[in-house]
């Protein structure tokens, strides 16, 4: 196992090069530069040229990539042109917010989506199945920004139960439990929006893989032999259906980190998705690259953890 994990990490090295090179090439080929968005009668072309020089943005593409790589190897993710601070510091202040929001909604959606998926699969074509199916499709067909607005209209504006934007009450400077409660209140709506989409897709995948398992000969044999339902689910079905489910959940984690952008925008949640979007608009190259690198690391880690989970769930899987 340890050997396998090590091997995976070695294999990841070229992937990192590939990712960073592709993203670097892409963001650098976007029109504009970090300073072209600044329009001010007092800003001369000379001023902008000097800034570009100062940040090394006049160098040829490969030189810039090489310099960036060199710094990264030394643990320096560079400097953000827009925020005027170190990329690592900026990401540090944001990644926690995203992880919190993403983590909570992942837990919610797993806890709801998977059991619900199993139960509708067991009662296939029943009324419950139809109802849950429609709910699922509602979940996947309402854009996150729209769902967010609906919640804000209902809980924020009409009922006035929940705060509409941000992570904390600005300036309240709560600490301890009061702080946690404050964040929790602000998180209810964005977490609901994020979960809804995932509940739907987790449920669909679970339902589908459980149905597949149910069709297998040994399950039919077990059923006809009178194995009780409860142990059928826990001992046979869940175990076999879990592998594709782990895949789906693990695929969802990275996209939750970067894809929460729309939800974060609607609720002004200071997360990594919004930061990355702003970085693209600002042509803040080093910040974009830093975020991409961190996200890639997380994705790789999640994949390795998923592999370990496979082995735990199904001892037949061996890694060599």
């Amino acid at each position: 196992m340890v050997k396998y994990v090590l091997k995976r990490m070695v294999v990841a090295v070229p992937v990192f090069f590939g990712i960073t090179f592709c993203v670097f090439a892409l963001v650098m080929s976007m029109p504009g530069d970090p300073f072209s968005g600044m329009l001010d009668p007092s800003m001369t072309a000379e001023y902008k040229r000097r800034l570009l020089e100062q940040y090394g943005l006049n160098d040829p593409f490969l030189v810039q990539y090489g310099k960036w790589l060199g710094r990264v190897i030394h643990g320096d993710l560079g400097y953000s042109t827009a925020y005027k601070s170190r990329v690592l510091d900026i990401i540090g202040t944001r990644i926690g917010n995203t992880a919190l929001l993403g983590g909570v909604s992942l837990i919610i959606s797993t806890l709801i989506g998977i059991p619900a998926g199993i139960s509708v699969a067991m009662r296939r074509n029943s009324l419950l199945d139809a109802g849950m199916t429609i709910f699922c499709f509602f979940g996947v067909s309402v854009p996150a920004f729209f769902m967010g607005m609906l919640l804000i209209l209902l809980f924020g504006m009409t009922l006035k139960w929940l705060p509409i934007s941000g992570m904390v009450v600005a300036g309240a400077n709560n600490v301890g439990l009061a702080y946690a409660l404050d964040v929790a209140r602000h998180m209810v709506m964005p977490a609901t929006v994020l979960s809804l989409l995932n509940v739907a897709s987790f449920m669909r995948y679970t339902r589908s893989s459980v149905i597949d398992v149910l069709g297998q000969d040994y399950i039919r044999t077990a059923r006809s032999n009178g194995v009780p339902r409860r142990s059928l689910v826990s001992r046979h079905i869940l175990k076999n259906a879990l592998i594709p489910i782990i895949t789906v959940v693990s695929l969802q984690i990275p996209s939750m980190l970067s894809g929460a952008l729309l939800t974060e925008t609607v609720f002004v949640w200071p997360g990594i998705g919004q930061l990355n979007y702003q970085a693209v608009l600002n042509r803040d190259y080093q910040l974009i690259m830093g975020i991409v690198l961190v996200l890639a690391l997380v994705t790789l880690l999640v994949n390795i953890i998923a592999d370990i989970c496979y082995a735990i769930v199904d001892p037949r899987i061996r890694y060599s």
């Binding site: 499709f137 996947v140 067909s141 920004f145 729209f146 894809g259 991409v292 790789l300």
Partner: protein, 304 residues
């Protein structure tokens, strides 16, 4: 486990009973009996016909603006009211369907094509080719979707075709993994060896003996993919990077009506496109489920 050989065995059985049904016909027969799937299919067909006939069915020019009729509720003249700059919502809904359905279908088609091709190649050939393709998959999985999509839109422009390419290129990895895994596991089975011995080309083996076994996950993936493609276009519109204005899409109609005032007072601006997206996604999934059941060799065996 006897999965995989069924396609051939069914044909043989059918031949034996002198009722020559091709697998395709059997699948169709089963699909026809599935009410939800048929409902989905008919609804989608009607929808596609309607949006294709948009020039005939539309009551107004797609982009015609009536300066004095902004945000007007439905009337006889504008049967679904007007949008925030006085364009006919009903007519734009029809034309918007061309973009949304077109983007959804084309993007899914593209992602399934890329995914199946690369997945099959990786699984069948294996070795270095497999390693390269799988590293490519790893890379794309690590891309933060919206950042790449926005950058690509900035570089290539926001036309409908570019959006299809962006979505297609960024979301084929799921299908690729599924197909590769399946092909990999079947490659060393006896029947594959037998097929090879019979002189079937790799392409034939993959197409007729391996792919049918991954239809079910591919269909689930594709149907969810269709929904997410339509929503992705909406999301890009929300961020101002969707299809070129004044072209309508259900997504940008929905995102244009996203402020609180519109939500409260102008239901005709967001409810119709919202409902159509919902119905499309629902029907695509009904159809997908039906197709999965119909094409899955296992369920075929189970019922016969």
């Amino acid at each position: 486990m006897t999965q995989g050989i069924s396609g051939a065995s069914v044909t043989r059985k059918a031949r034996a009973s002198r009722e020559v049904y091709s697998p395709g016909r059997i699948a169709w027969r089963k699909l026809r009996n599935n009410k939800l799937a048929m409902f989905g299919m008919i609804f989608l067909a009607l929808l596609i016909i309607a949006v294709l006939l948009a020039p005939v069915l539309a009551t107004h020019d797609r982009d015609a603006i009536e300066m004095f009729s902004m945000d007007k509720p439905p009337t006889e003249k504008f049967i679904l009211g007007t949008d925030s700059i006085g364009r006919d919502v009903y007519s734009r809904l029809l034309y918007g369907g061309q973009i949304s359905l077109g983007v959804g279908l084309a993007a899914v088609l593209l992602q399934v094509t890329i995914g199946v091709t690369l997945g099959a190649i990786a699984g069948y050939i294996g070795g270095a080719v497999d390693a390269i393709i799988m590293r490519l998959v790893d890379m794309i999985l690590c891309f933060p979707f919206y950042v790449i999509a926005i950058s690509m839109a900035a570089v290539f422009g926001g036309s409908a075709i570019n959006i299809v390419i962006i979505i297609g290129v960024l979301s084929w990895t799921g299908v690729c993994r599924i197909v590769r895994a399946q092909v990999l596991s079947l490659r060393s089975r006896e029947f594959t060896e037998a097929a090879r011995a019979l002189g079937l080309t790799p392409l034939e083996i993959i197409r007729s003996h391996m792919l049918p076994n991954c239809v079910s996950p591919i269909v689930v993936n594709a149907t969810l993919g269709m929904a997410s493609a339509i929503l992705t276009e909406a999301g890009l519109s929300f961020l101002g990077m969707g299809v070129t204005p004044p072209q309508p899409s259900w997504g940008n109609m929905l995102s244009a009506a996203q402020n609180i005032t519109a939500l409260q007072h102008y239901w005709w601006q967001w409810l119709p496109p919202g409902l159509l997206v919902f119905m499309t996604v629902l029907c695509v999934n009904f159809l997908g489920d039906g197709m999965r059941d119909a094409l899955d060799p296992r369920t075929r065996q189970a019922k016969e």
